[in-house]
């Protein structure tokens, strides 16, 4: 099987602080892979590096065979990234934002239209899609941003805490959306500090703490290995 993403010995220092201390993992095509761990574990740092925003201190990252250091532009064409804390241009209408972003990925106007149409479906905002983003609630913005990330059917979608700051209902909707649209060929790398919600969403998870990957596998494998009922218990036992 082809690995969409290969990470080997990835380290990142912020000054004296070692945020990542050499992590390695691979994601196969069509997988939903989750980095789970507490706040400050280094999840966002890892995702930002893979999304070409930060440069690694050490280690190797490859997306579909493109080296992160040598061909960041190539990687940007293949991925889409949903930041943990993100906003959209408040003066744009939802549909304008989708069109603006789609134009960067589409190669012709027809394709832009197709992307926007799919984005509108994913966002599921009805008529509100034609309102100014400044009038949206937090949940609506997050849905719009998720739609933006998935509409172009990227090879790799990098979603940093896709449900962060949302209520139970909105989180559930977002999880369902991710699962539905991933069926169509996108590979997903996501992060979460909510270990329970991840269990139902991911094919495989890696437990990360203090810049180190403690263990990884399918939720089922991990629960059996640690004799736990859920991933939260797995994590607690893995830390010790």
């Amino acid at each position: 099987m082809d690995a969409v993403l290969k990470v080997e010995g990835l380290k990142k220092n912020y000054g004296n602080l070692q945020a990542l201390k050499g992590i390695s993992f691979q994601i196969q095509k069509g997988e939903i892979f989750a980095l789970i761990g507490p706040n400050g574990a280094g999840k966002s740092t890892a995702l930002r590096i893979i999304a070409t925003l930060l440069s690694p201190t050490e280690g190797k990252v490859e997306v579909l065979g493109h080296d992160l250091r040598k061909e960041p532009e190539k990687i940007r064409e293949k991925i889409s990234y949903l930041p943990e804390e993100a906003g959209a241009y408040r003066n744009q209408r939802g549909v304008e934002y989708l069109r603006f972003m789609a134009n960067f990925y589409a190669t012709e106007p027809e394709e832009t239209k197709e992307f926007v149409k799919r984005g509108a479906q994913i966002a599921d905002l009805g008529e509100r899609l034609y309102d100014k983003i400044g009038t949206y609630s937090k949940g609506m913005v997050r849905k719009l941003l998720l739609a933006r990330a998935l509409m172009g059917q990227p090879h790799l979608a990098i979603l940093d805490e896709p449900t962060s700051g949302l209520d139970v209902i909105n989180s559930l909707e977002i999880r369902q959306t991710i699962r539905e649209y991933v069926k169509q060929g996108t590979t997903v790398l996501l992060s979460s500090h909510n270990m329970l919600e991840i269990e139902f969403l991911s094919d495989r998870v890696a437990l990360i703490d203090n810049g180190v990957i403690l263990d990884s596998g399918t939720p089922k494998e991990l629960k059996e290995k640690y004799g736990a009922n859920n991933l939260e218990e797995v994590f607690r036992r893995a830390v010790i």
């Binding site: 925003l53 003066n91 744009q92 134009n103 990925y105 941003l145």
Partner: protein, 430 residues
């Protein structure tokens, strides 16, 4: 290219928001209104002024004086009373701003060359601009009277002599020299022309630099504040395009904004200056002296201006990255405004060549000085320093853009603010 247009369109749209349009309209109308008001005042001041005259002398000379005043564009109201007090009352009621009292025996005494005084009373009825021209008016009236009397005297004693030639026997012809060109014309007119040319340009320049820098700095800071920058930086478009699109859109919007303000400002200024019909001669004199901008001159000045704007934009974009949000970005703009103000004020109040060495060097280092200096140098035909200035600005711009692009493709664009706040936190602890 399609992607770049997409970006440029969005950047421009972001900048043209309701706030900008409202403040534009507001400022424009404010200028317009003030200009119209000033124009009205100037018109009032220029209209023939009313003078009340109490002629106690009733001689041929005093009647002649009244005619002389009429032909000098004053509106004379002859009063018929005999005593001053009621004359003042009548003058007050008539609305005239000046009362002239010609005493008894004035004509006889003056023609015998015994000078005698005419009393004038000026009514101050307000503090508007026409009221401030009081002393000018009194002077003009007395000059008219004196002229009339001396002309009459000369005609009487020396018939056949033209009083004008007797009073001003020497005539002069003015020439002005600039470099190796000579033209006949008044030096006062020529230098006021140069001044008007070289004050108008700096104001435009100042406005454009300030507005476009403000645009670009808020364009970057807004991306940070709205948390859209991270997403934008992962989009498949060359990072340099992001920098250029922001600079270009801000440059364009800043240019248009400054242009609209300028039109408003022109209204305002023309209100004060009045549409003074400059003697048609000044144009030909200036042309002869080579003081008018030639098409090449305009081109060189345009290049100089453009580079100064680009330097401002590049500086602003770097400062914008440093800013945490829109508010702190506005504060960071101050250094740029300052840098643009220094050459502006120096060019207004002083001449570059007469400055001391340290100040000259300081001005040279500031990229924004060069278009100010260029506008004067080009008029005077000194192209060499202008070209040096252009080269210097180009080098500075290249360095700044290189820096900006470096920052945009490094971690700093996202972590800069964090590092800053950490440093300041450390400072507090120590």
């Amino acid at each position: 290219m399609r992607k770049f247009w997409n970006l440029l369109k969005k950047e421009t749209k972001e900048l043209i928001n309701a706030q900008l349009i409202i403040s534009l309209i507001f400022t424009f109308f404010l200028f317009y209104l003030m200009g119209t008001l000033a124009q009205g005042e100037m018109a009032k001041a220029a209209a023939p002024q009313e003078i009340a005259v109490l002629d106690l002398d009733s001689s041929e000379l005093s009647r002649g004086i009244m005619n002389g005043l009429s032909s000098a564009n004053f509106k004379v109201i002859a009063l018929t009373t005999e005593d001053r007090q009621s004359a003042i009352e009548q003058a007050r009621e008539s609305g005239a701003s000046l009362l002239l009292v010609i005493p008894r025996g004035f004509g006889k005494s003056v023609l015998e060359l015994n000078s005698m005084s005419i009393d004038t009373y000026y009514f101050i009825r307000g503090f508007s601009m026409s009221a401030t021209s009081a002393s000018g008016m009194v002077k003009a009236v007395i000059a008219t009277v004196n002229n009339y009397i001396s002309d009459t005297y000369i005609k009487e004693r020396l018939p056949g002599v033209n009083p004008e030639e007797l009073k001003n026997p020497v005539k002069n012809k003015d020439y002005v020299i600039v470099k190796d060109r000579i033209a006949e014309g008044s030096p006062a007119e020529v230098s006021s022309f140069i001044l008007s040319q070289s004050t108008f340009l700096p104001i435009i320049l100042m406005l454009i630099i300030v507005y476009s820098s403000q645009m670009v700095i808020s364009a970057v800071a807004m991306e940070k504040e709205n948390k859209t920058l991270e997403t934008l930086l992962t989009v498949p478009i060359n990072r340099n395009y992001i920098v250029v699109a922001k600079m270009l859109s801000s440059g364009i919007v800043g240019l248009v904004t400054a242009g609209i303000y300028m039109v408003g400002f022109r209204f305002y200024m023309s209100g004060f200056m009045g549409n003074v019909p400059t003697s048609g001669q000044i144009d030909t004199v200036v042309q002869k002296l080579g003081l008018a901008f030639t098409p090449q001159g305009y081109l060189v000045l345009g290049v100089s201006l453009f580079l100064a704007i680009l330097c401002g934009l590049a500086m602003a974009i770097i400062l914008g990255v440093l800013a945490k949000d829109l508010k702190s970005a506005q504060g960071l703009l101050m250094p740029i405004i300052f840098l643009a103000l220094i050459p502006y004020f120096i060019s207004l109040f002083s001449d570059f060549n007469s400055l001391s060495w340290p100040v000259k060097v300081l001005l040279w280092i500031i990229p924004f000085s060069h278009p100010f200096l260029a506008s004067q140098n080009i008029l005077l035909g000194n192209y060499l320093p202008v070209f040096y200035g252009i080269i210097y600005m180009f080098v500075i711009f290249a360095i700044l853009v290189f820096l900006a692009a470096r920052i945009f493709s490094s971690d700093q664009v996202l972590t800069m603010k964090l590092q800053l706040s950490r440093r300041s936190l450390k400072g507090i602890k120590q």
